[in-house]
Amino acid sequence: MRVPFSWMREYCDPGLEVDEVAELLSMRAVEVERVIRVGAPSPQGFVVGLVLSAEQHPNADRLSVCEVDTGEATRTIVCGAPNVAAGQTVPVALPGAVLPGGRQLGRAKLRGVVSDGMILSETELEVGDDAAGIMVLGDGAAAGTPLADVLPISESVLDLELNPNRSDCLGVYGVARELHAITGAPLAPAPWSEDAEADGDGEVGDYASVSVEVPELCPRFTARAFSEVAIGPSPAWLKARLVAAGQRPISNVVDITNYVMLMTAQPLHAFDLDRLPGGEVIVRRARDGETMTTLDGVERTFDRETVLVCDRDRPSGIAGIMGGQVSEVSAETTRVLLEVATWDGVNILRTSSMLGLRSEASTRFEKQLHPELAIRGQRIASRLIVELCGARLLPGTIDEAAEIPAPHAISLHGARLDSLLGVHVDREEAIEHLERLEFEVEPDGEDDLRATVPVHRHYDVTREADLVEEVGRLHGFDRLPRTLPEHADRVGGLSREQALRRRAEDAMRDLGACEIVSWSLAAPDLPDRLRLPEGDPRRDAIATDNPLTAEQVAMRTSLVGGLLDAARHNLARDADRVLLFESGRAYLRAAGPAEGGELAGAFAGELPPPACEPHRIGCLAVGAVAPTAWRREARPVDFYDAKGLLEALCSRLGAPLELVPASEPFLHPGRTARIAIDGRESGWVGELHPLVAREWDLPGGAGFEVDLAPLVAASRFGRERYEDVTTYPAVLQDLAVVVAEDVPAERVRAAVLEGGDELLADAELFDLYRGEQVGEGRKSLALRLEFRAPDRTLTDDDVAERREAIKRALAGIGGSLRE
């Protein structure tokens, strides 16, 4: 909303500079986004001139050499406009004046004649849009009069950023009312307080009729008729105001409808009464698929929820949004039917959004205007049409469906006001603020009051809290004390889950990984690129039905896509290795779990979440895991590097980890394992499938993805118990076990631990050997055994006995000791 400063000051002038007014409005009422300058930067050097003579330029067909009285002197001015003529009163810029746009006017020689100034057009002054010739001012202004006294040639305009609740500030008078409430400077009487005199022949009902078939969507429809209308250009002051407010002047009747809308927020529409067959107006729902060409020349198709304003034969406009071409006011119009209606805001918003068509009218109607504004609009517009178009107003007003809501009153309790604001506001002060906003206020008891809401705030102010806002903002939110809530019993902190999530992220960082944040929405071809087969549950993504781009359609079911994208991005930009991780959610097609905590996707609230959103840690390495160093040979990441990172993560969380050989479509089939935490399947670890690596232009890579909730649930971190390992020393022994190649190391270790029983505290695999000494198809695993008893020092016999038991256990899996 653009508010020309001089226009607003006509209603309320606190005597402040425009920047001060902008600041006050922003701090107390509505945000002024910026102050725009329309027209010349300064009115200096612009005067009214009288053209004394206009002669053909000796050297140029299209130029005239004029003698112009500018008050203090007679100047020779060369003018290129075809319409310049002796006797005209015209706007003149003198040498030194700075024109709109910033160019300073000098004395210039034009085809041999020195021009001592410039006669200006509306466009050059930015007070209208007529560029065809110079602007001719009405009589009355004497030559030499500062032009700014006649025209707003240097206008400051407040550009408001309005919130949807303040439809009242979509009119200049409404903004002036706010300025009055803030400063106390007097507010001019309402412009609608006086009506036009109706002296036309007959009365409106003789010429027109209105039938509203949808009163639920059209709470009021008023119409007045005018005869003897002379269509022509609007006077300069009106054009200047429209231009400053951002509207293009068209003709007097249309300009008046726009002007009244800009003043009051109420849109109006003028019909050529002679182009309305039988003077009939019908307001009805559109038929499904019904079409009409709007004023902008576009054919529109409607549905049943669209409300149309029709003549007897066809639609002539979309209610509250845009008129049609059929009954437009034109230069030939002599009789006008002026429509000022009220529409259902929700319906207008729906239709304008369905059609993708927003207009000055629809942005106002969609905020729900009060039906009372309609008659106010009629009164102001009637006076202007009579005054500026030489028209006669026919007696009477058609007023259909007039459902005027009754005013409502709200109580404001002093105690509640003080408690919500956190500061005491005197009742007298509160009353003053509300009365300036045109609430009718009655004191109620000692501390309370009752306020009747004015028409322009009817839908916006409905509860006590709304009154608190009005009083609070005019008291000044910026004047509130800065206090903290008094609740001393509240205890802040992270939950164990939240703290362990941070620990997991820190662990990944400390292992050398860089955290990424990637899109939750993925491209629809991601499952194919990951080679996920039909039936893989990860193809069943939660999808938006109105995606913004084809790249972001479905919620990710794994973190791997984002990691691959980020790896490719960096490798394409000269990184020779990447070690990335993401801490984020996957979005699965399942009901949200009822328990398991936030990391599992169990969130507070009565309704379970519509999807399952487990929090995960994903990791991907490409190139060497170890950082590049001048004396270290770079070795590309493999399965054991990825597993090492995963083990380190689990170790920092104090959670047990178990891996089972498995396959994943996007991973190397021989180098992949499923992660099990406490027996629960919790993710994958492995090397990228070469085809997937190639799809992302990667030389290879390895990584893992693990659900955080089971890791955190299994975490012993913070719950460790002291264990005595110093009183009775451990006995350390190395053991070499020879087994068949296909026996997994974990099975060997399990057999050793089984044989070692409770005296064997740990068995750590530290070497793997293959070669002639152990024979073809066999391998030797070296383990370091740690024997310990909690209550005594072990003897050689104790250990020897266990060793024998270990031997027997190993025999069970075809293994033997290499002694």
Partner: protein, 390 residues
């Protein structure tokens, strides 16, 4: 005889101290303590002495022998240490070559760091942290946050709606929580089934949450007042990505409800937070604003951390960060709207008596202001040259 022993001692000690190397030391040992040395002969000839002299001479000779052995050992260590020092001086490396990193230097994402920083500020002020789902019911995202039907923010162009066919088959929503178009087919039958009937979700019932505010409702449903929480999370809007907009972004929501919790408390709390995040000299100001779920609503500005609030940077130029105003908008806030309490009244929130405030801040924006990040897209590009700076 005793005099001769003392003479020998002095002579030998001088020679040992002056010995330049291990070889010379060995020669001196042979000369003074060897089998053919004078001291050895003296000890060997003690038996030939007068019995009264035997004791004193023997003792003196043995003492000198021990002293000389000690002196030899000491001198040997001295010479060895000097030799080691000499050899170490030849073993010189270039200490300016880079060290060998044990692991690469990892980084948390700037958004994670900033989220934690905000969380920690409020944890310090006595708040707990809660999280909620990204895929959310319209009921929590709009209805219970007092976005009446037809509200502009509900319009399709702003929100990503979830295709109900892509949800799990068994998902049902109670009739009181669906957001049906009154003209939708089958609506009458649904209404007849009563508010608690469980319905399959329609095309406008589930969406990607457009803000973290839905968690206000979920949190209040789960516990009576007082409640002091912050909710970090991801949100989604149908905004084309550019330097200041993104279809996915991150917020921290705040909710403080309890006896007497006031707008002045909001002002004080957010001033503390602004100072913790942007420095102790920051000032804040509140301006009127509008959000459907708060009343009164305010915008909170912080004095510009670049120009210090003057609006001018070095040389008198207009500060581009605050556009010369000296103030920067950091968040929206307000007193929880009584209509919102109305939706959780059965959990102990009486709209007539309960009061509190709520706020929401953008993590991206806070990090941009703190670290001078010029373009929102950098957060999601995951370029290591960006990530490695923080």
């Amino acid at each position: 005889m005793l005099d001769r022993i003392e003479e020998l001692k002095a002579e030998a000690e001088a020679a040992i101290a002056a010995a330049p190397g291990a070889g010379e030391l060995e020669e001196l040992r042979v000369a003074y303590l060897g089998r053919k040395s004078e001291l050895t002969s003296i000890l060997r000839g003690i038996g030939d002495l007068d019995p009264t002299e035997r004791g004193p001479v023997g003792a003196a000779a043995n003492a000198v022998r021990q002293a000389l052995e000690g002196a030899l050992t000491a001198r040997r260590s001295e010479l060895e240490a000097a030799e080691l020092e000499r050899s170490l001086l030849d073993d010189v490396i270039d200490v300016t070559l880079p060290g060998t990193p044990p692991v690469a230097t990892g980084h948390l994402h700037l958004l994670t760091r900033t989220r934690r920083e905000i969380e920690d500020v409020f944890v310090g002020l006595g708040y707990r942290v809660m999280e909620g789902p990204d895929v959310e019911h319209d009921y929590y995202n709009f209805t219970a946050l007092n976005h009446p039907p037809g509200h502009p923010a509900r319009m399709v162009q702003d929100s990503f709606y979830v295709d109900p066919k892509s949800l799990a088959e068994g998902i049902r929503v109670p009739a009181w929580a669906v957001a049906r178009d009154p003209a939708a087919p089958g609506r009458e039958a649904e209404e007849a089934a009563g508010p608690d009937a469980l319905l399959p979700p329609g095309p406008r019932d589930v969406l990607l949450r457009t803000h973290t505010s839905p968690m206000q409702i979920r949190a209040m449903e789960s516990q009576p007042p007082p409640i002091f929480i912050v909710v970090p999370g991801t949100a989604y809007r149908r905004d084309t990505i550019d330097a200041t907009h993104s279809p996915m972004f991150h917020q921290v929501e705040g909710l403080a409800v309890g006896d007497g919790v006031s707008l002045a408390d909001l002002a004080g709390t957010l001033q503390e937070a602004a100072r913790a995040l942007f420095g102790p000299d920051r000032e804040t100001r509140l301006k009127p604003d509008f959000f459907p779920f708060t009343e009164p609503s305010v915008q909170v500005d912080v004095s510009c951390m670049v120009c210090g609030g003057s609006g001018r940077v070095d040389g008198g130029e207009r500060d581009p960060v605050c556009k010369g105003t000296g103030w920067i908008e950091i968040l929206g806030a307000g007193m929880v709207d009584p209509n919102v309490f109305g939706f959780v009244e059965r959990s102990g929130y009486d709209p007539q008596t309960v009061q509190g405030f709520a706020f929401g801040m953008g993590i991206e924006r806070i990090a941009m202001l703190k670290h001078g990040v010029p373009d929102l897209r950098m957060y999601y590009e995951n370029d290591l040259r960006f990530l490695g700076q923080f």
